[in-house]
């Protein structure tokens, strides 16, 4: 079953007032894969993510998650199919504690009704303990356990990024989309993050789609890379193939070479 397709995009297109941000985007993500989505700024990578996760309704094409066509589904219903994401610019529930951020993401799996909860049915206490323990366990894996009760906005930047991943994992996803998880991190942090992504992928049996600017990260851990430019896929293949692809070099690496060397 390892070639089971968990996430599939068929000719997905997204237009904003006549401007094609994404055009005929095709993707097949098989179980356990780690795929990178790269491209110059404004290539439409984040728009792709928004289409896949149901934040945008694609103007054309279809997104199929674990065999279910997401057309007409609401964002939370798409999330409940087992796909989640993190954000390029961190979007934690700032006013809430670190622990609450994680618990909220697990609410969809709560086995108690609103009445159980409000009237303090015994089920509530069982459920409370279970979700709390699970959230703490996730925080422990990411070395954030000691900060569980702090407001999430008080964490340093790198930890906020990690917390976003924890929160995403708390939804118990099968597929996770990471939008520039290493943005703003230094070399050491990026290095740690690479190991972390590899580790959670193994431990949680995740399928990962990753948007990243940091070429070292993408080339280092992705098995397959898709290159987007002006909303269209211009190349895909293994990191080695992508490195030598003339179209990619012209569109992306060539233009971006200086910055890549500098980091």
């Amino acid at each position: 079953m390892s070639d089971e397709i968990l996430l599939e995009a068929k000719k997905v297109g997204m237009e904003f007032g006549g401007l094609k941000a994404v055009d005929a985007f095709d993707l097949q993500l098989r179980r356990g894969e780690l795929v990178g989505l790269i491209g110059p700024n404004g290539a439409g990578k984040t728009t792709c993510f928004n289409c896949l996760t149901g934040v945008y309704k694609p103007t054309s094409g279809e997104v199929i998650i674990r065999g279910v066509n997401t057309r007409g589904l609401k964002t939370h219903e798409v999330s409940r199919l087992g796909m989640t994401r993190t954000f390029q610019n961190i979007r934690l529930f700032k006013e809430l504690s670190v622990l609450d951020n994680v618990i909220i993401a697990g609410l969809q799996h709560a086995r108690q009704s609103v009445l159980d909860d409000v009237l303090r049915h015994p089920r509530h206490y069982v459920e409370e303990a279970r979700t709390r323990e699970r959230a703490l366990e996730l925080l422990r894996i990411f070395n954030l356990e000691g900060k569980a009760d702090l407001p999430s906005s008080s964490l340093p930047y790198g930890e906020q990024r990690r917390l976003e991943i924890v929160r995403a994992l708390a939804t118990e996803p099968r597929v996770i989309l990471l939008d520039e998880p290493a943005a703003g991190m230094n070399d050491k942090e990026t290095e740690d993050l690479m190991h972390l992504i590899a580790q959670i992928r193994r431990d949680f049996r995740l399928t990962v789609l990753l948007i990243e600017h940091d070429m070292r990260l993408v080339m280092g851990i992705c098995e397959r890379i898709i290159v987007l430019d002006h909303g269209c896929i211009i190349a895909q293949g293994t990191p080695a193939q992508i490195k030598c692809d003339p179209a990619v070099i012209a569109a992306y690496l060539g233009v971006d070479e200086k910055t890549t060397e500098a980091t």
């Binding site: 939370h76 999330s79 954000f87 979007r91 006013e95 809430l96 609410l107 909860d117």
Partner: protein
């Protein structure tokens, strides 16, 4: 004790009583604002409808013949059910279709719904005031420092405090409340975390409307004349209380309500009752000029 001191304490008590009613209604404004960034102008009409639901329930069950706590609770339940259903209906039919529309459109819709309800109520119930069933006799319960503490004052204060305590419990100690806070911080992200935002919004309307319902029964008991336009002035004042406390902030709404109630009572007592309503609007103008985020609110930084 001097007469003036005793008078002051009496006004203090009245002010807090009035203030807890403002606070109850202000909470409905602030909750909906926190989740949808919408001033739900129809909220004052939900409150009015609560009073009428309680009135008709009381009349059909002849509750003024059997006054007591049970009758009072029956009125509360009737008002809560009616207001919740009305609040849900307004959300479903008027606001939800406009969820993605510009804020101004929804605001105008809210005013429209408010007018629709006011005038429908005049057609259905008649414009002349009705006498709210007297289910709790207003006796002097005890006298502290020569201040008369009456049944209704205590009831309003206790029920109001209980309702607000219940709300605090709901928001901070239940999953539903946690989801509400998440949606109010960032709805789109909450939905990506699997939270059904529509359902949370519905609950917000149920809870906010229920608080207005409680307020309407308390007001009905204290000032027994009810009419279809009774929501207008108290609604605007509760709105001022919410803005004063910082719209979107629950403790702010409570604080703003009590503050407004106290100030009104003091103005009436020591200046003139003519200035009673002017005060609320005066406060609104001053808050908007000098501290638009309110007492407990956090200033929003506009991105440029």
């Amino acid at each position: 004790m001097e007469a003036s001191q005793q008078e002051f304490l009496q006004h203090l008590l009245n002010g807090v009583t009035l203030g807890s009613i403002y606070a109850l209604i202000a909470l409905g404004y602030t909750m909906v604002y926190g989740i949808l960034q919408l001033i739900n102008f129809a909220h004052s009409e939900v409150y009015m409808m609560g009073a009428f639901a309680a009135y008709y329930t009381g009349r059909s069950l002849n509750l003024d013949q059997s006054p007591g706590v049970l009758s009072f609770i029956i009125l509360l339940v009737a008002a809560i059910v009616a207001c919740s259903v009305l609040g849900l209906t307004i959300e479903r039919l008027a606001y939800r279709p406009l969820r993605k529309a510009p804020k101004l459109n929804i605001l105008i819709t809210a005013i429209g719904v408010s007018l629709l309800l006011q005038y429908s109520a005049q057609i259905i119930f008649g414009a002349e005031p009705k006498l709210f069933p007297e289910v709790l006799a207003d006796r002097t319960l005890f006298t502290v420092a020569e201040v008369e503490v009456r049944t209704l004052d205590i009831t309003i204060f206790l029920v109001g405090t209980l309702a607000m305590g219940g709300l605090h419990f709901l928001i901070h100690h239940t999953r539903l409340g946690m989801a509400m806070r998440a949606v109010s911080v960032n709805g789109p992200v909450a939905s990506l975390m699997g939270i059904n935002v529509d359902r949370i919004i519905m609950w917000t309307f149920v809870v906010g409307s229920s608080l207005a319902a409680v307020g309407s029964v308390l007001v009905g008991l204290k000032y027994p004349k009810i009419d279809p336009l009774m929501g207008m002035l108290i609604g605007i004042k509760a709105f001022v209380a919410a803005v004063l406390g910082g719209i979107g902030s629950l403790p702010g709404a409570m604080l703003g309500g009590i503050f407004l109630g106290l100030s009104e009572e003091m103005v009436v007592a020591y200046l003139s009752s003519t200035y009673r309503d002017a005060l609320a609007f005066g406060i609104l103008i001053v808050v908007l000029l000098f501290r638009p985020a309110g007492l407990m609110g956090t200033p929003v930084r506009e991105k440029v």
